[in-house]
C-alpha cells in the first residue's frame, strides 16, 4: 500500500468490497432506466441534425457556412478548440492526480477518461468537416506516394495538430481501456447472463489479477501516466500554436500555449464537475463521488479561474504596452468595444468572475449552485474561443477587407451534432462500462474507511 497520508474518508457508507463491486456493476447488470432512454433519444436527435449538416457541407460546399474571404475559420475551429479543451479533463485528472498520488481521484477518473475519449472524437470531427476537399484529406498523411514523392509541410501547426491529437486520442484511449481491464474481469465473474459473460470475457483479455499482473499493471499505469502528462500539455500548446504561429493581431502571441493549456484544464474540470454531479445524482453514487470530491474540484476551479483572469489582463496589458497598433486595435476596438463585446464580456464574466463564488464554502457545498457555475464555465470557455478566433479575423491589418461573421444553420448543426455524439457516447459508457474504477476503489477502500468495515 502506498505510504502516503490519506485525507478524509474517500468512500462513505461503510461499503464492503462486495458492495463496491455490486454497486458499480449494477447499472450494467440492470436494464437501462427511463431517463437514460430519453437522454439517449435526445442525443440521437442532435446527432441526426449533425449528420444532415455534414451531408450538406460535403455535398454543396463550405459555402453553406457563414464564412467569407476574411473570416475563413468560424464555428468549426471554435468548437474544435472547445472540445479539445474539454478533452483535457480526463487525462488531467487521472494523470496528474495519479502522479501526485492523489487517492481521491479514483472514483472520478474513469468517467473523466471516458469523457476525454468521446470529446477528442468530437473535436476530431471539426478539422475534417471544415476541409474544403475532405475527400482529398489523405494528402495530410506523410505516406510514401508516387507524386515525387511529395511530403507534407512539417512547419504547419495543422500538421502538428494531426500528429498531436491522433497521439492524444490513442494515448487516452489506451489509458482508459487498460484501466478498465481488471474491472471487466470483475464484471465477467459477476455476470449473470451468458452473453454478457462472453463479451466481458473477451474484453477482459483474460485478466485474473495475479500478483505479477498487478505489478506490471501498475508499472504500465505509471508509464502511461508519466508519458501522457507532457502530452496533455503539448496537445493544447500545439492547438494554441495554430494561432500563436500566425501573424494575425490577437493571435500572434507567446502567452498562448500556457494560456490555452490552463484554459483547457479549466473547461475540462468544469465539464467533469457537470458530469459527475449528474452521475452521482442519477446513480445515487453519493457515497463514491462524495461532497468532498466536489469540494476539491471547486477549489481547483477557483485557482484556475484566477490564472485565467490574469491571462486575460496580461493580454490586454501587452496589447497596450507593446504599442503594436494592430494588436491594440483588435483588443481595444474589437473586443473591449466593437461588434463582439457580448462574447468578450461573456468570457470575462463566466471564466474570471463567476467561479470566484467558490471562495465561499456555502456555495461549494450547494450542489445545485456548483452545477450551474460549472455550466457557466463551459459557456465562458466557448466564448473565449469565439473571441479569439472571430475578433482577430474580422478586423486585421487592412481596413479594406474587414468584415463580420455570423454562423449559419449548417454550421450550428455540425456543433449540435457533436454534442449529440458526446451525449450518446457518454450514455453508452455509463450503461455498458464500469463508470468507476472498481479495483482502484477497493485499493483505497480499507485504509480510508477508518478500518472498521464489515465482512460479509
Amino acid at each position: 500500500m502506498y505510504n502516503t497520508k490519506i485525507r478524509g474518508v474517500l468512500v462513505e457508507g461503510n461499503k464492503s468490497y462486495a458492495d463496491v463491486s455490486r454497486d458499480i456493476i449494477a447499472p450494467i447488470e440492470n436494464t437501462a432506466p427511463g431517463w437514460w432512454i430519453y437522454a439517449f433519444a435526445i442525443g440521437i436527435g442532435a446527432l441526426i441534425y449533425g449528420v444532415w449538416a455534414f451531408y450538406i457541407t460535403i455535398s454543396e460546399g463550405i459555402g453553406t457556412w457563414g464564412l467569407n474571404n476574411s473570416v475563413a475559420w468560424g464555428w468549426g475551429i471554435i468548437n474544435f478548440v472547445w472540445w479539445i479543451g474539454i478533452a483535457h479533463a480526463g487525462t488531467a485528472f487521472s494523470i496528474f492526480l495519479l502522479i501526485v498520488r492523489q487517492k481521491w481521484r479514483t472514483s472520478i477518473n474513469r468517467a473523466a477518461e471516458a469523457m476525454t475519449v468521446v470529446a477528442v472524437l468530437c473535436a476530431g470531427m471539426f478539422p475534417l468537416i471544415h476541409m474544403g476537399r475532405i475527400w482529398m484529406g489523405f494528402f495530410i498523411m506523410p505516406y510514401p506516394n508516387t507524386r515525387g514523392p511529395i511530403w507534407v509541410n512539417f512547419n504547419s501547426p495543422l500538421f502538428w495538430d494531426v500528429v498531436a491529437i491522433s497521439t492524444y486520442l490513442m494515448a487516452s484511449a489506451v489509458f482508459w481501456y487498460v484501466g478498465m481491464i481488471p474491472d471487466f474481469a470483475t464484471i465477467r465473474d459477476k455476470a449473470t447472463s451468458k452473453v454478457r459473460k462472453a463479451i466481458y470475457d473477451f474484453l477482459s483479455f483474460g485478466w485474473v489479477g495475479s500478483a505479477r499482473g498487478w505489478l506490471r499493471f501498475e508499472a504500465l499505469a505509471m508509464i502511461l501516466g508519466g508519458l501522457t502528462a507532457p502530452l496533455v500539455i503539448s496537445v493544447h500548446s500545439i492547438v494554441a500554436m495554430d494561432f500563436a504561429t500566425s501573424v494575425m493581431p490577437g493571435w500572434h502571441s507567446t502567452v498562448f500555449p500556457p494560456y490555452f493549456v490552463i484554459g483547457a484544464i479549466f473547461s475540462g474540470f468544469s465539464m467533469v464537475l457537470t458530469l459527475m454531479i449528474i452521475i452521482r445524482t442519477v446513480y445515487k453514487f453519493q457515497s463514491y463521488v462524495t461532497d468532498s470530491h466536489i469540494n476539491a474540484i471547486a477549489k481547483i476551479l477557483v485557482f484556475i479561474s484566477l490564472i485565467m483572469g490574469t491571462a486575460y489582463c496580461t493580454e490586454i496589458f501587452i496589447a497596450w504596452y507593446s504599442g503594436g497598433e494592430y494588436e491594440y486595435y483588435t483588443f481595444f476596438n474589437n473586443r473591449i468595444s466593437g461588434d463582439y463585446t457580448i462574447a468578450f464580456y461573456g468570457m470575462i464574466i463566466c471564466n474570471a468572475i463567476i467561479p470566484q463564488l467558490f471562495w465561499f464554502r456555502k456555495i461549494r457545498k450547494n450542489i445545485i449552485l456548483v452545477f450551474i457555475i460549472s455550466l457557466f464555465v463551459n459557456l465562458g470557455m466557448w466564448f473565449e474561443r469565439y473571441v479569439i478566433v472571430i475578433t482577430s479575423l474580422t478586423k486585421d491589418y487592412m481596413p479594406a477587407n474587414w468584415s463580420t461573421y455570423s454562423p449559419t444553420v449548417v454550421e450550428i448543426g455540425v456543433y449540435v451534432g457533436t454534442l449529440g455524439f458526446f451525449i450518446c457516447g457518454v450514455l453508452l459508457f455509463l450503461k455498458f462500462l464500469p463508470m468507476i474504477a472498481i479495483s482502484e476503489i477497493k485499493g483505497v477502500l480499507k485504509p480510508t474507511s477508518n478500518g472498521q468495515y464489515l465482512k460479509k
Binding site: E60, G61, I62, G63, G66, L67, N68, N69, S70, A72, W73, P127, H130, M131, G132, R133, I134, W135, M136, G137, F139, I140, I150, W151, V152, N153, N155, S156, P157, L158, F159, V162, D242, T245, S246, V247, M248, E325, Y326, Y329, L393, D396, Y397, M398, P399, A400, N401, W402, S403
Partner: protein, 1013 residues
C-alpha cells in the same frame, strides 16, 4: 506584344482570318443550323472545346482520366498552331469607349482583349468595358436568327419583305429614318449615303444615350463645326473640370487617362506634375484623383463657372457680366488659370449649350485653343443632336415616319420618355432593329436583323479626324447573324441603281461584301493620303496588321479645308447665356439630382455581361445594383442609413448609399441599370435612371426637382468594402508635391526605418535565376478597374453573383482598395490595387499542412490547386487577404448560372489556366502562364529575356501605365529601378513578409492639406 507582327507572306492570310478557325468548314451550314435549332452551341463549338490539346473546362479534383477523343483539324489553317495563341488587331467602339485593341485568339476563339500600343489615341490602354467585351461575344442571349414579328425567320424572307416594303414606302415618298448611335465608321456612313441614294426619302439621325450635344452645339456656334474638339490633357499643367468625369466616362476616357497620367508621373529628375481641380456633385473617379475637389450642387455649377469666367474676363480686359454669386471662392483658381495661360484646360461635363459656350469662351481667353484643345482634329465619337431625336419622336407620333431603321440604339430603354417613343414606334409601318440582342427596342421592332458582335465583324473607324483603325473578325459567326452594313448594302443594292456594278445582290450575298466595300472605300479615300506604300494591298495588309492608320497632318491639309480656328472663333453672347442659365433663386433648396455612368455598366449596353455587373464601382465599391448616393449630412437630416429604400419620383425604388464627398443637397444615381430585356444576368438589376433625364433642348443629366419618399424598408447592397478609412494606418503613403521636391522620400519615412530594422533568424535567400517583382505607382493609378476585369478574363476568375458578394466572397484576384482620408464631406480618396504580394517569407506557406503553397526558385508564391485540401489556414494567415476560396463549385453549377455554366460561355475560358474546383484556395500568380510562355519563347529563340517582355494581364490593361513588372535580379530593369526609388515601399513592412510587390507613394499637387482654392 510583338507577337501579332508576322511575316509579310502571311498578310494575305489575315484578311481571310475569319475563315481560319473552321476545322471543317464544308458543313458549316449544318453547324449553324444546329445552333439555330437548339439555342445551345453546335458541334463545331463542341469540337473547339475538345479540339486537340484543350480539355479547357477542367476540374482539378478529378483523379481519373476518362477515354477522351482527340480531334485534329481536317485542314490545319496555315497560321494556327494548335496550342499557340494568335493575335489580331481590331477596334472596339461602344458608348464612350473607342479603343484600338489586340484580340488574343486560341484555336480560333477570341479569349482576351488587349490594348493596341500602336494606336495614337489609346496607346495600349483599355478599360473595364473594353476588357469585358469579349464575354459579350459568348452571350447566350444574343439573337441567333433574323426575326420577323418576333418569329424566327430566314434572311431571304426578311430581305424580300423589307426590300418590298422599303420600295413601296419610297415610291409614295414616305419618310424613312435610320436612327443610329454615333457612327465613326466612314464606310458605314457612306453605306448610309448609298442607302439614301436608293431611297431618297431616307435620312439619318444620330442619337446618343449619353449625349454631348451641349458641346457640339456650342462648338457649332463658336467654330461652325458641329463636333467635339480633341483635348490634350497631357499639355495642360492646370486642369479645371466642372463635373466632367474624363478619367471614367466623359467622351474618351481611355485616351484622357493616358494623357493625364503623362503629367502625373513624378520622378526626381522631373518632379513636376499637373494640378487638377474638380468641381462636381457626385464623387467620380476623376474627382477622387483630383488634387483639389470641391463638391457643388449641379445648380451651383453655372454660378461657379460664370464667376470664374468673370475673374478671367477681367484679367483679359473684357467687360465682366452679371453673374449670380458663387458659393465657392474662385479667385485664387482664376489667378492660377491666368498664370497658366495656354497651359491650362477648362472642361465641363454639363450638356447645357450655354455653359459650354461660357467654357469655350473661357478657354479662348486663356488661349488654350491650339494648345490644349485642338479643333483641327475633331472627335466623332459623339455626334447626336438631342433636338433631332425629340423632333423625330414628335414626327413619329404624327405618323410622319413610315419606316424606322434602328442601328445600335435602344431608345425604348434610354430615351428620357421612352413611353412616347414606344407608342410612336407603333405608328410606323416598318420598324427594323439591327440589335444583336432582343433588347427593349428590338422587342418592339417588326423586323430584327441581328448585327454581328464586333469580334465577328469587319469595320473601320475614324474616332477623330485623320485617325483611322480597322475592325477584323477573329471568329466565324457563332449564329446566323449579319452585319447591319451588309443588310443595308443588300437592301440598297437590289435595283442596282448605285454606280459601279460591284454591289449587285449576287456579289453581296457572299460572306464579306462589307469587307470588299471597306477595301474599296480605303482604296479610294485613304490610300492616296499616304506616301509609304505604293501598292494598295501592301498598305491594306500593313494597316490590318497594325490595326491603326493615322493620316499625317500634311496629307490631312491636302484633302481637308483647314483653317485657323482662332480666326473663325465667333464669341457667343455670354450675357445672353447668363440669362438662359437660370440658377436657383436664393432660399429655394429643392433636392437636386445628378445622373452618372458607372465604370462597369456605362450606359448599359453591355449590362448583360456578368463580369461588368460584378465589377465593384471603384468609388462606392458596390456591385450588382445601382443606388441613390446621398451625402452624410443629407442622410442625417432625413434619418436615412445605408440600404434604406427610397421611392424616387414615384417611379421606382432605390436603396440609398451614404457617399462621402457627395454634394450636400444632391442625390446621384447611376445610369445603365434597370434593364428589362437585356438577358438573364442584367434583367431587373437596379433601376433605369434614364427616365429622370430632362430635356431642355439638350438632354440634361441633372436637375433640381426630385421627390424622395423613404419606404422604411431596407435592402442589403453588395458591398465589397465596408470600412472606408485607413484608421491611421499607413497602407497608403502620401506626400504633397512641394514636400516631395524637398525630400524624395517624404511621406515614406516608415520605409527607411523598416529597412534599418529588417532582420531575420535565417540567412538571406539567394535567387540564382530570375526574381519576379511588380511595382505600382499609386500616383498614376486612377482606380479605373480595367485590371480587375483583365485579370478575370485572363485567369478564369469565377463570377459568383450578388448574394455571394454580399457575403464578402468576391473572387477577384486583384482588387482595388479605396480609402477616404480627411473630411467625410470632401475626402482625399486613395486607390490601392492589391494582388498577391508574392512574399519571400510568406505567412500562408508556413501554415498549409499539405504544402499546397510554397515559394519557387524565382520568388513566386506558388499555389497548387490540385494539392489544396481547403483548410483555409492560408487565407487566415495572409495579412493582405488576397487569397480567395472556392466556397462552391462555380463552374457547371446552376446556382451560378453565369459564363462558366454554359458551353457557349465557357468558350471565353483561358486554357492556360485551370478552372478551380470547389474547396480549393486560389490567388494571383503574377500570370505565371504568361511568364512561362515568354520564357519558353526566349529559350526557343535562344536569347535572353528582355525587360518588360512579360506583361501580366493587369499591367497590360492599365491605361495609366501605373504598373511595372520584371526581374529584380536584372540590373537596370524597370522594376528594380522602381524598387530603388525613394517613393517605393512595401505593404506591412513591419510584418516582415518581404513582399515582391512595391508601391510608390501617392503625391498630391496641393499647397497644404485640404484648403479650398
Amino acid at each position: 506584344m510583338k507577337k501579332y507582327w508576322r511575316s509579310i507572306e502571311e498578310f494575305e492570310e489575315d484578311s481571310k482570318i475569319e475563315k481560319l478557325p473552321e476545322p471543317e468548314f464544308p458543313i458549316e451550314g449544318l453547324a449553324e443550323y444546329e445552333i439555330n435549332k437548339s439555342g445551345t452551341t453546335s458541334r463545331r463549338d463542341f469540337l473547339k472545346m475538345l479540339g486537340f490539346g484543350i480539355g479547357f473546362v477542367t476540374f482539378a479534383a478529378s483523379c481519373e482520366n476518362p477515354i477522351n477523343k482527340a480531334i485534329p483539324y481536317l485542314i490545319k489553317p496555315e497560321n494556327i498552331i494548335p496550342g499557340n495563341a494568335n493575335y489580331y488587331a481590331s477596334t472596339f467602339f461602344g458608348g464612350n469607349d473607342y479603343c484600338s485593341v489586340i484580340v488574343k485568339t486560341l484555336e480560333g476563339r477570341p479569349i482576351k482583349i488587349e490594348g493596341n500600343e500602336l494606336s495614337s489615341i489609346t496607346a495600349g490602354g483599355t478599360n473595364a468595358r473594353v476588357q469585358a467585351s469579349v464575354l459579350s461575344l459568348y452571350d447566350s442571349f444574343r439573337i441567333k436568327t433574323p426575326l420577323k414579328n418576333k418569329q424566327e425567320s430566314t434572311w431571304e424572307e426578311v430581305d424580300a419583305d423589307i426590300i418590298g416594303k422599303l420600295d413601296e414606302i419610297a415610291k409614295k415618298g414616305g419618310k424613312i429614318v435610320i436612327l443610329s448611335s454615333s457612327v465613326i465608321s466612314p464606310s458605314t456612313q457612306s453605306i448610309f449615303e448609298d442607302f439614301n441614294r436608293k431611297y431618297p426619302t431616307a435620312e439619318v439621325i444620330y442619337y446618343d444615350s449619353v449625349s454631348a450635344s451641349g458641346i457640339i452645339e456650342a462648338n457649332k456656334k463658336n467654330f461652325g463645326q458641329p463636333y467635339l474638339p480633341s483635348y490634350n490633357f497631357d499639355k495642360a499643367r492646370l486642369i479645371v473640370s466642372f463635373g466632367a468625369d474624363f478619367l471614367g466616362n466623359w467622351l474618351s476616357p481611355i485616351e484622357y487617362t493616358k494623357q493625364y497620367s503623362k503629367n502625373r508621373k513624378v520622378s526626381k529628375t522631373n518632379p513636376d506634375m499637373s494640378r487638377h481641380v474638380q468641381f462636381e456633385s457626385t464623387l467620380t473617379l476623376t474627382g477622387s484623383n483630383a488634387d483639389y475637389r470641391i463638391p457643388i450642387n449641379p445648380s451651383q455649377e453655372a454660378g461657379t463657372i460664370l464667376n470664374l469666367y468673370n475673374r478671367i474676363a477681367q484679367k483679359a480686359g473684357k467687360a465682366a457680366i452679371t453673374a449670380p454669386e458663387s458659393t465657392v471662392n474662385v479667385d485664387s483658381l482664376a489667378n492660377e488659370l491666368w498664370a497658366a495661360k495656354g497651359k491650362s484646360l477648362v472642361v465641363s461635363g454639363s450638356n447645357d449649350v450655354n455653359i459650354q459656350l461660357v467654357v469655350n469662351d473661357m478657354n479662348y481667353l486663356l488661349g488654350n485653343y491650339g494648345k490644349t484643345i485642338n479643333m483641327n482634329r475633331p472627335v466623332y465619337t459623339k455626334q447626336g443632336i438631342d433636338g433631332q431625336m425629340d423632333n423625330l419622336t414628335k414626327r413619329m407620333e404624327k405618323g410622319e415616319v413610315e419606316a424606322l431603321l434602328m442601328y445600335n440604339v435602344n431608345p425604348a430603354y434610354d430615351y428620357q420618355n421612352a413611353e412616347a417613343f414606344t407608342d410612336a414606334l407603333t405608328k410606323t409601318q416598318l420598324s427594323i432593329s439591327f440589335s444583336d440582342t432582343l433588347n427593349e427596342t428590338a422587342k418592339l421592332a417588326g423586323y430584327v436583323c441581328p448585327d454581328c458582335h464586333y469580334l465577328e465583324s469587319w469595320n473601320d473607324a475614324q474616332p477623330k479626324r485623320g485617325v483611322y483603325s480597322l475592325t477584323q473578325p477573329t471568329i466565324n459567326k457563332l449564329f446566323d447573324t449579319r452585319q447591319a452594313q451588309e443588310s443595308l448594302l443588300i437592301w440598297s443594292a437590289t435595283g442596282g441603281t448605285t454606280e459601279a456594278g460591284e454591289n449587285k445582290v449576287e456579289n453581296l450575298v457572299e460572306e464579306d461584301a462589307y469587307y470588299a466595300y471597306i477595301k474599296k472605300q480605303w482604296r479610294s479615300n485613304l490610300f492616296p493620303k499616304q506616301l509609304k506604300y505604293a501598292v494598295f494591298s501592301e498598305f491594306w495588309n500593313h494597316t490590318l496588321q497594325a490595326g491603326v492608320f493615322t493620316v499625317s497632318s500634311v496629307a490631312d491639309m491636302i484633302t481637308r479645308s483647314n483653317y485657323p480656328y482662332v480666326a473663325v472663333y465667333s464669341a457667343a453672347n455670354i450675357a445672353d447665356c447668363v440669362l438662359k442659365l437660370k440658377s436657383p433663386k436664393a432660399g429655394e433648396r429643392a433636392i437636386e439630382f445628378s445622373l452618372y455612368e458607372s465604370i462597369g455598366i456605362g450606359d448599359g449596353r453591355q449590362a448583360n455581361n456578368p463580369w461588368l455587373q460584378e465589377l465593384p464601382d471603384p468609388v462606392s465599391k458596390v456591385c450588382w445594383d445601382n443606388y441613390l448616393a446621398i451625402s452624410k449630412t443629407f442622410a442625417d437630416k432625413n434619418r436615412l442609413s445605408l440600404g434604406d429604400i427610397v421611392i424616387v419620383n414615384d417611379i421606382f425604388e432605390l436603396p440609398v448609399l451614404i457617399q462621402a464627398g457627395q454634394a450636400d443637397n444632391t442625390v446621384s444615381i447611376a445610369l445603365g441599370y434597370g434593364r428589362s430585356s437585356a438577358g438573364k444576368v442584367a434583367d431587373g438589376v437596379g433601376q433605369n435612371a434614364f427616365r429622370l433625364v430632362q430635356s431642355k433642348g439638350t438632354r440634361l443629366y441633372s436637375g433640381n426637382d426630385i421627390k424622395l419618399v423613404p419606404t422604411g424598408s431596407n435592402y442589403i447592397l453588395a458591398l465589397t468594402q465596408t470600412h472606408h478609412t485607413l484608421h491611421g494606418r499607413d497602407h497608403v503613403r502620401t506626400a504633397m508635391l512641394k514636400d516631395y521636391k524637398e525630400n524624395p522620400s517624404a511621406g515614406n519615412e516608415a520605409h527607411l526605418i523598416a529597412e534599418e530594422k529588417k532582420q531575420s533568424m535565417y540567412s538571406e535567400r539567394e535567387f540564382k535565376g530570375h526574381r519576379w517583382a511588380l511595382a505600382i505607382d499609386l500616383n498614376l493609378c486612377t482606380g479605373c478597374s480595367a485590371c480587375v476585369i483583365a485579370c478575370q478574363a485572363e485567369n478564369n476568375v469565377a463570377v459568383i453573383g450578388r448574394d455571394e458578394v454580399r457575403k464578402k466572397r468576391i473572387m477577384h484576384w486583384i482588387r482595388i482598395d479605396r480609402y477616404y482620408a480627411e473630411k467625410a464631406e470632401d475626402p482625399d480618396v486613395y486607390f490601392q490595387p492589391i494582388m498577391c504580394q508574392q512574399c519571400d517569407n510568406a505567412p500562408c506557406e508556413n501554415v498549409c499542412p499539405v504544402s499546397a503553397t510554397q515559394n519557387s526558385k524565382e520568388g513566386l508564391n506558388d499555389m497548387i490547386y490540385n494539392r489544396c485540401i481547403g483548410t483555409r489556414y492560408c487565407m487566415n494567415n495572409c495579412p493582405y487577404r488576397v487569397r480567395r476560396f472556392n466556397w462552391y463549385e462555380y463552374a457547371n453549377n446552376d446556382k451560378f448560372d453565369y459564363n462558366m455554366n454554359s458551353s457557349l460561355g465557357k468558350m471565353v475560358l483561358n486554357p492556360d489556366v485551370v478552372v478551380r474546383t470547389r474547396g480549393v484556395a486560389e490567388k494571383c500568380s503574377f500570370c505565371v502562364q504568361r511568364i512561362q510562355e515568354k520564357k519558353l519563347g526566349a529559350k526557343m529563340e535562344n536569347r535572353e529575356l528582355m525587360d518588360g517582355e512579360i506583361k501580366p494581364a493587369c499591367l497590360q490593361s492599365c491605361p495609366a501605365d501605373a504598373i511595372v513588372f520584371g526581374d529584380r535580379n536584372m540590373p537596370g530593369s524597370e522594376v528594380s529601378k522602381a524598387f530603388a526609388n525613394e517613393r517605393n515601399y512595401f505593404l506591412l513592412e513591419e510584418v516582415n513578409t518581404r513582399p515582391s510587390v512595391g508601391y510608390l507613394t501617392k503625391i498630391r499637387n496641393t499647397e497644404s492639406k485640404k484648403n479650398e482654392t
